[in-house]
Symmetry: C2
Subunit: 263 residues, 2 copies
């Protein structure tokens, strides 16, 4: 295990596999039985490699509880290519469903697309010091979980109907912005901590009513929403019930013959 | 980019980041501008490193459409440690809820635990040549998505109530084994392909009624279930409505004062 190439390779693999997980130098020392000075050298090769591969940076955290961790990043050009590719796929007219709906579920459950979107969203909020991610079941769960994985944070899923396995819950009733229908949403109390910092992630924002309801619900526990990210936001209604959100795609048009996104 | 250490480091990082994704040697050739013979040498260092790191193997796929891919693996000892740690966490009596329920949602939404369980489950079915993963909303979705990510397969989520965004669906009514309550489940037709091979993943198996309903529903499309995996199975009822499944944990006892799992 003393071989330098081998050590570097192993460090790269471990870091890449576990984004935002902090590995102490002690951990690698025990694993390789190498001197700290060699490991520091190895770490700089690793850093350069991640940078050259265009997949993010390896950060050093100083101090007794410090170490190195992998902070994923997708370069602007790769993001642009990915967005174009996905927008093209989403704009296929075969995805138009009767009644002004569209079929996108397959893409929101395919690891390549989910992880790509999650990476873009995660980067917006990398420095927000969030404690956890919140989403509402069901379509947005894979996306939110992938963001949670990249940021190495727990996920809390709000449900439409609470279950006995949720324990005691906090609930909210609200009017869904688009359908003007009364909706309910519940979140297990055990998943949230008074005064925490939440990131709200969803697949689609229509009128913003659902996201607003989440924020209101969290607000009762003095939890601040430090960011809201969605894959798609509908251009209409232009007046949303929330103002501060980021999105990858804007749904510009959805008719019986055309579906169009801008990025 | 001609530096050997750098090439190896980058290959490791890319492979580890994208399990079961096939990278052609051409891909690396274009990236590094190195000769095929050097790349083959690099690949053997990479293979050894993954093996030494105990995180899986790098496989070579021969032929014109061939290349190398990373097949994740968790060594038996690490699996055992992980299972013990998680079983201990799950057995905390503070997780006991009134009415014979238990609170585990937090663990099934924390990337470290989800990915660990998913890794163990994915390994059971690595060679089953599945085309896609199926699960039922909601608690099992993060686990199923993580299995999908490791196997690089799409996920199909069956819903309790179908939505307009699902397009046309196939539905089934069934009796839930434990509660003897009539349940409905729907799956978007667009997510499944006649004659395909499915892996069914869920967080918890009680009487097995839900899993049986999924299999029946898929059977109507001549889709064969090539494997069924769950994180937890309840010891009772001992007679399940399905016979062929694998599980990480068995819930041995759940009373008002005790919660116990075996592995």
């Amino acid at each position: 295990m003393g071989n330098k190439k081998q050590r570097i390779a192993m460090m790269c693999a471990l870091l890449a596999k576990n984004p935002n997980k902090l590995y102490s130098l002690n951990y690698f020392q025990e694993m390789f039985g190498a001197a700290k000075s060699s490991l520091s050298e190895d770490a700089s090769v690793v850093k350069q490699a991640f940078c050259d591969a265009g997949i993010g940076r390896v950060e050093t955290v100083a101090g007794a509880r410090g170490g190195i961790r992998y902070v994923p990043h997708m370069p602007a050009q790769a993001q642009e290519r990915f967005k174009q590719e996905l927008a093209r796929k989403m704009s296929d007219t075969s995805r138009i469903l009767p009644g002004g709906y569209m079929f996108l579920v397959d893409l929101f459950c395919t690891p390549y697309y989910v992880d790509g979107m999650a990476q873009i969203i995660a980067e917006w909020f990398m420095d927000k010091k969030a404690d956890f991610i919140v989403t509402v079941e069901t379509k947005g769960v894979p996306l939110a979980m992938s963001v949670a994985r990249i940021l190495n944070l727990p996920l809390a899923i709000a449900r439409r109907e609470s279950k006995l396995t949720d324990g005691s819950v906090v609930s909210i009733n609200y009017l869904s912005g688009s359908s003007r229908r009364l909706q309910t949403m519940s979140l297990s109390k055990r998943l949230i901590r008074e005064g925490g910092r939440a990131l709200v992630i969803d697949d689609f924002i229509g009128g913003g009513g659902t996201i607003k309801a989440i924020s209101d619900m969290l607000g009762e526990f003095h939890i601040s929403v430090v960011g809201t990210g969605a894959a798609i936001v509908n251009r209409y209604p232009q007046k949303k019930r929330i103002s501060d959100y980021k999105t990858i795609f804007v749904l510009e048009e959805l008719s019986e013959t055309k579906i169009e996104f801008s990025t």
